[in-house]
């Protein structure tokens, strides 16, 4: 058996008028992976997922799902999906919704097993329209996994969930991966990616700026930004250990560093006239986009 990727995007782009939502995304998902698509708002995460699901067609490039066009029914019977905005029938009860969705799949879980896996025993007989936002998310989660899909798409699955429901969902997800499922989840939160993912792909402005293990991504995000006014020339600081880049704007020196404590100590020691020292943690977006708005590519 050749390890064909479950999802394959080849230089996929998506344009909405003048806006380029995805700029040539080249991306593969293999069996057994739990991939977190991470990125700030408007980074193109949802567009990427919409292409993989066949909800939208790419402007150029190609998308394959199980080696088939994403809109083929055979491919769709092998996936489970939980999106942000879904219009489900408010008059049907949870158990009825699951019964209906399970019937779309060739070999679904028993309804009671789906209910147990999502931890929604208490909601089983209640109409969907009467549930709270978080409870609806849990029901949608049960619907995503009820068909024993090989690949599960989750769009910010834990938004609106309380802590215990979130932990429960994470536990279920880990169990599904252990049983052989693959998962794609989009999230804003590095924390969620850290708790779950075997692989993290970071999208910023429609481009894949980093793709690696959780540890690798965390190392990138642990970068800090130091700004100060100093006599030390930027060219010199650039060679210090732990300094990734040093730029001078006017008299403002700005550094991106991996080891902020050591660099600050050295700065203070080597320059007595140092002033306006400021250290900031680079956020997820900042970790990948510098102050000029251009992209860092990985490291």
């Amino acid at each position: 058996m050749h390890p064909a990727p479950l999802v394959e995007l080849e230089y996929a782009t998506k344009r909405f008028g003048a806006l380029e939502a995805l700029a040539g995304l080249d991306f593969r998902i293999s069996r057994g992976e739990l991939v977190a698509l991470l990125g700030p708002n408007g980074a193109g995460k949802l567009t990427a997922v919409a292409l993989m699901l066949g909800l939208q067609a790419p402007s150029s490039g190609s998308v394959r799902l199980f080696g088939e066009p994403p809109r083929s029914i055979a491919a769709r019977r092998r996936i489970g999906v939980m999106m942000q905005e879904v219009g489900l029938n408010p008059t049907l009860r949870t158990r009825e919704l699951l019964d209906l969705v399970s019937s779309y799949y060739p070999d679904p879980l028993p309804i009671s097993a789906s209910i147990a896996a999502a931890g929604i025993e208490a909601l089983a007989e209640r109409p969907y329209g009467k549930l709270s936002g978080g409870q609806k998310r849990q029901v949608q989660f049960a619907m995503a996994i009820c068909g024993r899909p090989e690949l599960i798409f989750l769009d910010e699955p834990t938004v609106g969930l309380d802590v215990s429901a979130r932990e429960r969902m994470w536990l279920t997800l880990r169990g599904l991966v252990r049983d052989g499922a693959s998962i794609v989840l989009t999230t804003h939160y590095l924390e969620e990616a850290e708790a779950l993912a075997s692989r993290v792909a970071v999208l910023v402005r429609g481009q894949l700026v980093a793709d690696g293990s959780v540890g690798e991504i965390r190392a990138l995000v642990s970068r800090k930004r130091i700004s100060c006014i100093s006599k030390i020339p930027a060219e010199e600081i650039r060679h210090w250990s732990g300094v990734e880049s040093a730029t001078l704007e006017g008299e403002q020196l700005s550094l991106v560093v991996t080891n902020a404590d050591a660099v600050v100590r050295r700065l203070v020691q080597s320059d007595e006239s140092l002033k306006d020292l400021e250290v900031r943690r680079a956020g997820l977006a900042e970790a990948f986009v510098d102050s000029h708005g251009s992209l860092h590519n990985g490291r």
Partner: protein, 92 residues
């Protein structure tokens, strides 16, 4: 759940009995949805019955033309059977 339970071996194919069942389930829950929607039940199930009783039986009395009552009956049958279409049966 057996071993590799989530690792389906069906490759997306579905036996025709299950496929038939999926359509039946869809119809079943669509019907249930409509029956639980007062906006459907009142104008499409209750009104035709009420109007027929009113115009075809009560107001017509005993001296009515029996053909007129039959025509009214057919009218309201058609009205009732069109209703699921107007409510987008199976579209959602």
């Amino acid at each position: 759940m057996g071993a590799r339970a989530t690792n389906a071996v069906h490759s997306g194919t579905m036996p025709s009995t299950r496929l038939m069942r999926a359509y039946l389930m869809e119809a079943k829950y669509e019907s249930l949805r409509l029956l639980r929607t007062p906006g459907f039940v009142v104008p499409t199930l209750f009104f035709p019955l009420m109007f027929y009783s009113l115009f075809g039986i009560v107001l017509a009395g005993s001296r009515a033309d029996p053909h007129a009552a039959a025509a009214i009956f057919v009218n309201y049958c058609i009205f009732g059977s069109m209703a699921p279409g107007l409510f987008g049966f199976g579209i959602t």
